[in-house]
Subunit: 657 residues, 2 copies
């Protein structure tokens, strides 16, 4: 966390915006003149970025001032105490053309209810693909409306350019919190008299940190926004991938920032691998190469994996060496029902670019380590560990990655994908090294649907994957040159408060009586998931020996839709806690879910059918070169800067280069 020396800038900006909360005109722009990147932005020396300027003229609402949006605004850059130069001079680029648009927003819920939006006219310019090289503080100044100014204090961090790690493997447990790690440990590792007999791999990391996930314009983040912070060092807005959110309607014209994957590849020629258990166009994998205001542009995201950004001059991107995950519907031919970018067959596109195309665990295992590989193993998100390993009949759905509507029965897990990715990257990268992001995506997805068992299963699979990764790196003699980071992108408000006697719960007929099944404090007893039977105490693979004990965890989220809670494993596949059973958009407890449980009214808006993200700082575990950079408490963006420092990616070539 940096404390800016130019504090007055921030104070001036913040005053007067306290009225806008649930909705904001434009989150990072409380005044009528907007600069992106905004105040308090840090850059890696030499990192590409776009600049977007906007001048707002509210036509109605509390900010209306009767003015037209200024067409003659000016913009300057000054380093430290130096002279302020026009951006065109400073960056040696042509003056961009003036753009115009308008947008509307609601000032609060009453305005929304009354159907009274506020309309804003906008003038704007965008300076594309610039960079700052010399470390130090800069002031960017937008002057508009006859002398009003918006100043942004920018800092180019002064980082060493020496490379300390050859490879970085970044594990992201999507939505994973310390609370969930604690619960996963409880169900998979045996304790005797308060002592765990085996350790989670994460618990054995030498360095622990916490990262703050607060996004740029709201304190709760989504996975797009938070992935952008982790990969670029730039906080952003919900739904943004690798851009700051401007107010225009075009989802592809927002000001971009270069990602760790793009910089690493551009500057060192190092290889990039992307692995996720989500559909591969989902936010966490997408944010490594995509640049859009709208994370829902899945087809374009898949295209950007392969071709990078093509609508503006950007960086030289030639595709990751490994791309493994789900989401076949964004790849296969639209004739089969695919929903692809420009109606192309992306299996064919990747194949033409030299990729092996893999559709199942068997072909993954057999794939060559010499060629680039695309592995797409299912339609939608990949099957969960619990369904692949315990409740296997749930795999019988029409989700084949080929698009032929058969079942995707032979899906790999995160461990299979990650180990193969390392094999390929290690073989192909030679002296150049690699960056691999491996995401346990369904911790988040299963927490969203209140399916705690499946979420914890995914977390345990992540831990097992990390353990196997360390062994793999050692077997390849690459352990000492590889930094391993394990973190999350945000939390869910989850904890465990005791145990539930599910037999007693089911035997009661009245909700208030069912609550007696809950055991807290001394009545929580011991975990029945791992403490039954003659489990051995090996340091091997650890998952619960019994997912369906009589005494389950009294666990949950804190922000929920209406639901019926029986605190038992959902054997018939991922949970659906709430359903729309009225003509309205209202969700009620799913009558097919939580049999015998307690009917609980939710706290979230009734249009929500699942849980939401939470505020909490999330843990960071680090091991390897530069591990010392990841201890203590810091901002999410610091993870980008620490990874970039470890790779030696700063390029202080001097002004204008």
């Amino acid at each position: 966390m940096r404390i800016s020396k130019s504090l007055a800038v921030g104070v001036a900006i913040v005053v007067g915006v306290s009225h806008a909360q649930t909705f904001q005109r434009l989150g990072t722009c409380p005044t009528l003149g907007c600069v992106f990147p905004p105040d308090q932005t840090d850059f890696l020396a030499g990192q590409y970025f776009d600049i977007r300027l906007e001048v707002h003229a509210p036509i109605n609402g509390s900010e209306a001032n009767g003015k037209q949006p200024d067409e003659k605004f000016t913009f300057t850059i000054a380093k430290e105490k130096g002279k302020a130069e026009p951006a065109t001079t400073y960056f040696s680029i042509a003056e961009p053309k003036l753009e115009r648009w308008n947008f509307s927003w609601y000032e609060d819920l009453f305005a929304k209810e009354a159907g009274k939006p506020s309309i804003v006219n906008v003038t704007s310019k965008a300076y594309r693909r610039v960079a700052l090289y010399e470390p130090g503080e800069y002031t960017a100044t937008l002057t508009y409306n006859n002398g009003s100014t918006t100043k942004a204090s920018w800092l180019v961090r002064d980082l060493q350019e020496v490379r300390k790690a050859k490879n970085i493997i970044m594990f992201i447990g999507d939505g994973m919190t310390t609370n969930m790690i604690t619960a996963a440990r409880l169900i998979a590792h045996k304790a005797i008299n308060g002592r765990y007999q085996t350790k989670m791999q994460m618990d054995q990391f030498p360095i622990l940190g916490h990262q703050m996930t607060h996004s740029i314009d709201s304190f709760i983040t989504d996975s797009a926004n938070s992935a952008t912070a982790l990969y670029t060092g730039h906080k952003s807005t919900v739904n943004c991938l690798g851009v700051y959110a401007d107010s225009s309607k075009d989802p592809f014209d927002d000001p971009k920032v270069e990602t760790i994957a793009e910089m690493f590849h551009r500057l060192t020629g190092g290889l990039v691998g992307i692995v996720s258990t989500a559909f591969i166009a989902d936010a966490t994998p997408a944010a490594l190469t995509a640049h859009t205001r709208d994370r829902g542009q899945y087809g374009a995201v898949v295209d950007s994996f392969l071709h990078g950004i093509t609508n503006y001059t950007w960086t030289n991107w030639t595709g990751p060496d490994v791309l493994f995950g789900g989401g076949a519907e964004q790849f296969y031919d639209p004739k089969l029902g695919g929903k692809t970018y420009l109606n192309k067959d992306y299996y064919s596109e990747f194949s033409k670019a030299g990729y092996q195309v893999l559709w199942n665990k068997t072909s993954l295992a057999k794939a060559s380590n010499d060629s680039r590989a695309l592995g797409i193993f299912t339609v939608s998100n990949m099957a969960k560990w619990l369904d692949r390993n315990v409740y296997k009949s749930n795999l019988n759905q029409s989700l084949s990655p080929s698009g032929d509507k058969t079942a995707a029965l032979d899906q790999p897990g995160l461990k299979d994908m990650t180990l193969k990715a390392i094999d390929i990257l290690a073989k192909r990268s030679g002296d150049k090294g690699f960056f691999l992001m491996s995401e346990a995506a369904s911790i988040d997805k299963m927490m969203h649907v209140l399916d705690y068992d499946r979420a914890l299963g995914e977390l345990l699979e992540l831990d097992d994957t990390i353990k196997a990764t360390i062994a793999k790196l050692k077997s390849l003699n690459k352990f000492k040159e590889t930094l391993i980071i394990v973190t999350a992108d945000h939390g869910h408000g989850f904890d465990v408060m005791g145990s539930v006697d599910t037999k007693y719960l089911a035997a009661q007929n009245v909700d208030r009586k069912k609550r007696d099944a809950v055991g807290t404090y001394q009545n929580s007893g011991l975990s029945q998931y791992a403490n039954t039977g003659n489990l051995t105490y090996s340091e091997g693979v650890h998952f619960p020996s019994n997912w369906d004990p009589r005494y389950t965890l009294f666990q949950g989220l804190m922000a929920d839709p209406d639901r019926r809670e029986n605190w038992s494993v959902h054997k018939d596949g991922p949970r659906v806690p709430a359903v729309n059973i009225t003509p309205s958009a209202d969700f009620y407890a799913n009558p097919k879910d939580g049999a015998g449980g307690i009917l609980l009214n939710g706290t979230l808006p009734v249009g929500d059918d699942q849980g939401v993200h939470s505020l909490t700082d999330v843990p960071v575990f680090a091991m390897g070169p530069c591990q010392e950079l990841f201890g203590g408490v810091y901002n999410s963006i610091d993870i980008f800067f620490s990874m970039a420092e470890c790779f030696g990616l700063a390029r202080g070539k001097g002004h204008g280069q």
Copy 2:
């Protein structure tokens, strides 16, 4: 976390106990022969402890075997592969007399509902005040019932005896989790574009760790149990202070373990300070000197502060040099309504022992640093920061520490007490150093009653106290010789999921419509507690500038009684979420609480009127000598061993000494 080499011991013990969960015959004794300290116990070399042996003969229930409890059981100790010797020989002590008793328990909730307890006859012996000196593994073996054995694997940790810190200050935020720290930061520290402009003191600590709070016989702990783990290195049972729980009815005969305060004082002559915002006989302060199965023995706890344990030979304890907190009713004369040990006036008792007796902030400030001091500032728990500083009229209650039923208006805060404690300890300790425990008790107490604002206020006061402590130590030139640890004893399942438009909430008449007031993700917006007005960005004292903004935090616990939630500050004092409004013991939402909010049904048993503790690992922040011992993830007991190592308290004098 230690992985025992003698694994078979643990496996043998655990099999067959999976039926007992909500209730257990005796948590640490799944077989019919019980050894305390039980299997998997670690000791500091030279630490005093008692041994309790029990043989159980269940008369009825699933374990009944028709036997009488064995009177001729034997007990041996063996070091490593050495010869097993009778305990009397090993410790050179006389054979204790045989004791007998019986107790009853319920096998599960159905048995409880049917009123069918299981009765157990017991024979027992206790060996008092022994110690193990030589580092290494020991096996303690109870042989009973003609050859059945219960083996306990004990380890005396091999720690250096070199003292590295002169002083240790241990801050305990009772019930404090990472999630709460994140929320407190949000309401008290201003953020601009996702960057906090100031830092919490905790966030600036160089070392971060997580401790697992799992207790010895249940996975959820209470504060007595967890404080025992932190202060003695021995996990225990809910409600236990400095003892393992045996099955006898006497709350004072359970096997004791020596605490860090007792060892530090006995071995080095160093001084001890105890500060808490709770009533001072509450679990967290009490566990430093009290030894009882029942944390509710408040009078005896107060006596033990002064006299130590007197019913058995124990350690030479002459009282702390500083004892500051609430709970006057356990001190003043029973004629005034006091509830004291043996009906004595404990102000008089402490005064006779040379203590200054202080009743308010004014006298605290004026107190001499040359004499020991007892400061008792109110009946019950001390006033909360929010009431002392913002809603002051709530102090008008009959809580004077004198017992005269006037109001306790002039109460100090945690900072006042802690700084004065340091002044006294620093002045009086000379070369001997001091150990100070300072507890922000009402983080927990306010989370229990779902009063999130007050809980976060207490957390911020703790942070402010830590900051002031560092400055104080520097001013006394004692900073470099002092280890500062900040941690918690357990969690509460709390998080923040967004914001609430309280104006919109109040304007709706239907619960399902009220839920639209909740803003998640991008609609969470920015904190309105700290981001309003011209707050300066100093590194000074940080509390919210506005506790009652229109847009509040959408925050809460995950295990609740029935309640009405309006997510607004409780201006008329600490919250009472549920009340008993029927002739039964059932609690319902308090009709006077949460006006205009959403009525929410709870999940806890309806006899509960407040929230409960949670499972989550809690954070540990360390700064100073030995700070490196506190990074990463470890067991709660490791905090005791690391503090003892830092003080050099291990005493490997050799066998039998």
